[in-house]
């Protein structure tokens, strides 16, 4: 009977899954990620490199407005350091924040002013507003990246495939002015964003060779964390909850058998 209930649940989840397999673009290439699975955790070194790529390349056009600098030092985050349970005090986080310029104010005379970032600030957006972003990018709006891997079907594989998937347009495909060909792009095969990476574009502080694949992988790792920053906490809690519920079920089943012991049913 329980098997039947479980299979019903499975059926429902499958039919739900079917709903979302739709969308344009070539099927994303499946990668192996450390964050997958019940025990999955983020690859911190990769996510740190990914932040460097984000900061030096992506952030020129893309915002990540839901991420505050202190988030980078939270538990489960790329720059978490157990010595600083309050991530605002994490020196790495503070140093990163300082590299950004933040508009603050108004001051006592009513003017906005610029100052270096602090760990309490959100990562500042590269453009003042959507129209400014579009004006600087020939009419295309570079989307906010804080949720990008969850806002696309099969997001992490999609993002990796997209970043490494730029190609010359095949014969017969007429590209519009300023567009690049990418078979993975959900909005058709033409993309306003050109290939963002070339080999050696960034110089990794940890000495890793910055190939296009490596940078794509690292930035995907970072953005997957950005979209789901509580994943490690959630999976850890989930494991405890599952163990608890399993033991509770055993106890309740035993109680059920005990109560019904002398009853024919």
């Amino acid at each position: 009977m329980l098997k039947r209930i479980a299979s019903l649940a499975l059926l429902a989840s499958l039919s739900a899954g079917l709903a979302f397999a739709a969308g344009g673009g070539k099927e994303a290439r499946k990668q192996n990620w450390k964050f997958e699975g019940v025990f999955g955790t983020y690859d911190k070194a990769s996510a740190q490199r990914g932040f460097q790529v984000f900061q030096e390349v992506c952030a020129a056009c893309h915002s990540a407005k839901y991420i505050a600098f202190y988030n980078l030092g939270d538990k489960g985050a790329p720059f978490y350091d157990p010595a600083y349970p309050n991530s605002n005090d994490n020196p790495v986080v503070k140093a990163i924040a300082k590299q950004f310029t933040v508009t603050a104010g108004p001051d006592s005379s009513g003017d906005m002013f610029e100052r270096p970032g602090t760990s309490a600030d959100k990562i500042p957006a590269p453009f003042a507003n959507e129209m400014a972003a579009m004006a600087a990018n020939s009419g295309a709006f570079p989307p906010d990246l804080s949720l990008i891997t969850r806002a696309r079907y099969n997001g992490s594989n999609y993002l990796y495939s997209l970043l490494t998937g730029y190609k010359d347009a095949p014969e017969g495909v007429q590209l519009s002015a300023g567009m690049s060909y990418n078979p993975y792009f959900t909005g058709g095969n033409q993309m306003a964003m050109g290939a963002p990476f070339i080999d050696g574009l960034v110089e990794y502080t940890d000495g890793t060779t910055a190939s296009v694949e490596q940078m794509s992988r690292d930035v995907t790792e970072f953005l997957t964390w950005a979209a789901d920053p509580k994943m490690e906490q959630r999976k850890g809690t989930g494991l405890m909850v599952m163990i608890y519920l399993f033991l509770l079920s055993l106890l309740l089943y035993g109680s059920y058998r005990a109560v019904w012991r002398d009853v024919k049913h």
Binding site: A9, A22, R150, A151, R234, G238, V241, L245
Partner: protein, 428 residues
């Protein structure tokens, strides 16, 4: 059963209170009442739903403390809850996934009622109140899905509220839509009123659940044999026998809930709903949550908009009169071989309609060839959903009424007790 009471106040305080406000008597008689001794695990979904409702209320009330019902802030406030509010990362998905799992449980609960004939005399009112609860759940679920103000939120709201514009203008269709929106499009006022109603509806559901349980206490539970309770030997007290069985089932159900919640929280949602609402950009494929998909398929199966809307609402409306469409006096389909067969086809039809609802009407179920332009042609989902819609209605309007008259039921046991003693495997 009504009339008798199992409560005997012993202390002075209890006697004093019982003479003035017999609330302990109410509680005792709600829990200690004779239930058929042969209820199987399909009967545990009522208790599962009650617990899920409480879970939804608790998580929802806390979420409302942090949520901002404003088009500029709604999406951000959901992110704020998930990223910055203590345990918000747990509460928000728990509420969203809890809604999905509640619908899963309610569908099993309804299919169980249909299979065992729980809607039949004398339980028609339990069924009808249950259908009111289901309708309220659909409304609450729909409005709740709008609140995060993502792309599917706003476009789902646009599609559903526009259904009312199918009402001809001379019958006030346009003004109904504008009245629902609070303006000329789905916008801030719509979001605000949906939030208000989304907070209200669960309390109406609680009230209806009270009526549902009250009505249940008049004839007591139906049971897998469908035979009425005849003697005390047919019954067991609800507490402790079914409270403990339900508790076990709830724990197992919560393991499924927890699995989705902790390990695949995005699997029941749509990625587009994590893109902020943009009324100027229509998603490629607007789909509702999975629990509305069968009705969405019916809506799109009919070429005429008004008829599509009528078909969709009729699909729910017809459930209200089910007790009078089924002409068979035998409750349980255990003893109705033909009805059982048609019922399983009906379940598959509902799942099939769900599949159709997730696809574009022009998608192919299977291809039969290629046309001159080189595109595959074949059996499309719109035709598949038309066939399934036809069966859905035929099941209620043709099959059940006729079957009751022509089907020869199998012999039934004399009593619940006899069925239990004859069947050594037990009810579960």
């Amino acid at each position: 059963m009504s009339g008798s009471s199992n409560y005997d106040p012993k202390t002075g305080i209890e006697k004093w209170l019982d003479a003035r406000l017999p609330i302990i008597r109410l509680g005792v008689d709600t829990l200690i009442f004779p239930s058929p001794r042969n209820l199987n695990y399909w009967w545990t979904f009522g208790a599962i739903l009650a617990v899920m409702l409480v879970s939804q209320l608790i998580t929802g009330i806390i979420l409302a403390m942090h949520y901002v019902p404003h088009p500029e802030h709604a999406f951000d406030s959901i992110q704020h809850i998930n990223r910055n509010v203590n345990f918000g990362w747990l509460l928000q998905p728990m509420h969203a996934i809890g809604a999905s799992l509640m619908f899963l449980a309610v569908y099993i609960h309804m299919f169980r009622g249909m299979y065992y004939g729980s809607y039949k005399n004398p339980r028609e009112m339990i069924w009808i109140v249950g259908m009111v609860i289901y309708l309220l759940m659909m409304a609450a679920g729909f409005m709740g899905y709008v609140l995060p103000w993502g792309q599917m939120s706003i476009w789902g709201a646009i599609v559903i509220t526009n259904l009312f514009s199918a009402i001809p203008p001379e019958a006030a269709g346009q003004s109904v839509t504008q009245w629902l929106w609070g303006g000329f499009s789905v916008d801030g006022p719509t979001l605000n009123r949906f939030f208000s109603l989304h907070y209200l509806l669960p309390f109406l559901i609680v009230a209806m659940v009270a009526l549902h349980i009250w009505a249940l206490h008049i004839p007591s539970n139906n049971n897998p044999t469908g035979i009425s309770i005849k003697t005390k030997a047919d019954t067991l007290d609800f507490h402790p026998y079914y409270t403990i069985k339900d508790a076990f089932a709830i724990a197992v159900f919560f393991m499924i809930f927890a699995w989705f919640l902790f390990f695949m929280p995005d699997s029941l949602g749509h990625p587009d709903n994590l893109i902020p609402a943009n009324p100027l950009s229509t998603p490629a494929h607007i789909v509702p949550e999975w629990y509305y998909l069968p009705f969405y398929a019916m809506l799109r199966a009919v070429p005429d908009k008004l008829m599509g809307v009528i078909t969709m609402f009729a699909a729910i409306g017809i459930l209200f009169v089910l007790p009078w469409l089924d002409t068979s006096k035998v409750r349980s389909m255990r003893y109705r071989p033909l009805a059982k067969l048609f019922f399983f086809v009906f379940v598959l039809t509902c799942l099939g309609l769900g599949w159709c609802g997730a696809k574009l009407p022009s998608d192919l179920v299977f291809a039969t060839g290629v046309n001159e332009a080189g595109n595959a042609v074949g059996f499309t989902f719109v035709w598949f959903s038309r066939i399934l819609t036809l069966y859905y209605f035929a099941f209620f309007i043709v099959i059940l009424p006729i079957l009751g008259l022509v089907e020869k039921p199998k012999p039934r046991p004399l009593s619940i007790e006899a069925s239990v003693l004859g069947d050594t495997k037990g009810g579960a």
